[in-house]
């Protein structure tokens, strides 16, 4: 085995892991606050990627810049989704919730198919082919930028929840819904904001990885699954867990692709999932009995 290749995979996985973290933070936030698993998470990312793609192709806006347009749009999408759909099933049995979210995923996929067709698309941005050489190891500039922004946004989400008034209301409603209603928090509004912020996270992540992966309407489920694995690994509802878990899965997938066959990279995440479920079902940062 070539050591340079291994280190390169390690770094590449670490960088992509940062973006995974952001995706998983979005899923974990939504789950932590509403106890709803957003099975349309990957599809929301796919929609964000299409918006980013067309902003790039038609208006020549670089994906990194287009975040300032994509983030509020996807926030709004998430906000409305919770207001008009999710809100109605918030007290429904889990099976109903899962069905609704899967339904949303299917609608979004088919919407994308209908509007943009099934073709693969690739955005060749300014940084697509640039790389930094460090003693035999190449680092993609796109990945580096994606990582940097993903980390900044993640820290932003942490600070938003920790310090702002709305952030505290979100945590309060997540902690005790009845208590939140009693003090006069508009719980429905807080839920919609949480869904919006969670969606914006995955939307931004979509803009960041657009230069790295081919885009098509079917890429949603595999990202929903990956982020779901990350959230279980980190502990359901724990944002720090989602963050660390994202990095771990990023690295594991990337190493798996080098050490095994690249088509087997998901084998690694699933193996981690099974090991976690067997030995620490509450996840790395989760608490038991929640």
């Amino acid at each position: 085995m070539n050591l340079t290749l291994l280190i390169q995979a390690l770094i590449g996985g670490f960088l992509v892991g940062g973006v995974y973290s952001l995706i998983a933070i979005g899923l974990s936030l939504i789950f932590g606050v509403m106890k709803i698993i957003n099975f349309a998470h990957g599809e929301i990312m796919m929609i964000a990627m299409y918006i980013t793609y067309w902003l790039f192709v038609l208006l020549k806006i670089d994906p990194i810049i287009s975040i300032i347009i994509v983030a509020p749009l996807i926030f709004l999408l998430g906000y409305c989704m919770q207001r008009f759909l999710v809100n109605r099933i918030i007290d429904a049995p889990e099976l109903i919730q899962i069905l609704l979210m899967l339904g949303v995923a299917i609608v979004l996929t088919n919407l994308a198919l209908f509007i943009w067709g099934p073709d693969h698309r690739m955005a060749a941005t300014r940084f697509s082919l640039s790389a930094i050489m460090l003693g035999g190891i190449t680092i993609d500039v796109s990945r580096l930028i994606a990582f940097g922004i993903a980390i900044i946004v993640s820290i932003g989400v942490f600070l938003f929840l920790a310090k702002t008034e709305t952030g505290k209301m979100i945590r309060a409603a997540a902690d005790n819904r009845l208590g939140a209603q009693i003090v006069g928090i508009k719980v429905n509004r807080v839920y919609a904001i949480s869904f919006g912020v969670g969606s914006a996270c995955v939307g931004i992540a979509g803009a960041l990885i657009l230069p790295l992966i081919p885009l098509d309407p079917y890429l949603g489920p595999s990202y929903t699954l990956t982020s779901f694995i990350i959230v279980i690994l980190g502990g359901m509802g724990s944002l720090l867990g989602a963050f660390i878990g994202g990095i771990i899965i990023g690295v594991a997938e990337s190493l798996g692709a080098v050490l095994l066959v690249s088509s087997l990279k998901e084998l690694v995440s699933f193996s981690i999932l099974i090991v976690i479920l067997l030995f620490r079902p509450q996840g790395l940062f989760g608490t038991r009995n929640e």
Binding site: R171, L178, A180, V183, G184
Partner: protein
């Protein structure tokens, strides 16, 4: 100040309150007593807007609040300290208190109100950076009352504030309720301890099976034969 007029409350098809009427006047402490399941908490929940009566109405300072949301009712000056505290365990004591004062004057005067609350419950000042979930039961009860006071209510609804407190704390809890009242907050109090709560109240209501069966001045109720027999075991 508060007028509850013949309210009927249902959970599904089950009728829980069968026409409850009561009044609370400015400056009073009014006690609501009754055995388990009589409908005391349900009455309080209806006043704070968490459940809505099917019939009857609730008026506060002359305005009908029967169908308003908890959000609006808090805004009008009613604050609810619920049974079982309902704190935010993963928020600090400070954050829990902040969440009690979300709008307008209450929000602007957060620091002032908090200082007053720390005078009532000095231990909370020491614990303010601790997560509420890590406090003892008694301390959590103090946070719950403090959070209720943060909205600077004119009417405070207390649902079993001494639940789960050690006996020595219970009497100091009553002193504090008395103190909150003399400093200007009207109180509607639900308590299991019939003797204590009738002793400190101006007036009291006895609830049985979703209806008011007795009402009167606290001292009179304490002398009432039926109450002596059923609730005080004398």
């Amino acid at each position: 100040m508060l007028r509850v007029n013949d309210i009927q409350v249902f959970y599904g098809e089950m009728q829980i309150l069968r026409g409850i009427s009561l009044e609370v006047n400015q400056g009073e402490i009014v006690s609501l007593i009754g055995s388990n399941g009589a409908g005391k908490s349900t009455t309080i929940l209806s006043i704070s807007g968490l459940i809505h009566p099917r019939k009857g109405e609730i008026e506060f300072n002359g305005k009908k609040i029967t169908d308003l949301s908890p959000f609006d009712i808090v805004e009008m000056g009613i604050s609810h300290v619920p049974e079982g505290r309902q704190l935010f365990p993963s928020l600090t004591v400070l954050e829990n208190l902040e969440m009690g004062a979300l709008r307008g004057k209450a929000k602007r005067e957060r620091h002032k109100t908090m200082e007053w609350i720390f005078q009532l419950f000095p231990i909370l000042n020491e614990r303010k950076r601790q997560f509420a979930g890590t406090l003892s039961g008694g301390e959590q009860q103090m946070v719950a009352i403090g959070r209720g006071l943060m909205s600077i209510p004119s009417l405070l609804l207390l649902d079993e504030p001494s639940l789960g407190l050690a006996p020595i704390f219970v009497s100091s809890m009553y002193d504090i309720i008395k103190k909150i009242n003399t400093e200007g907050t009207t109180i509607l109090l639900v308590e299991q301890n019939v003797f204590k709560s009738l002793s400190i109240c101006n007036r009291g209501y006895v609830l049985e099976n979703g209806a008011v069966t007795l009402k009167g001045i606290g001292e009179d109720l304490l002398q009432n034969k039926l109450i002596k027999k059923v609730y005080l075991g004398m």
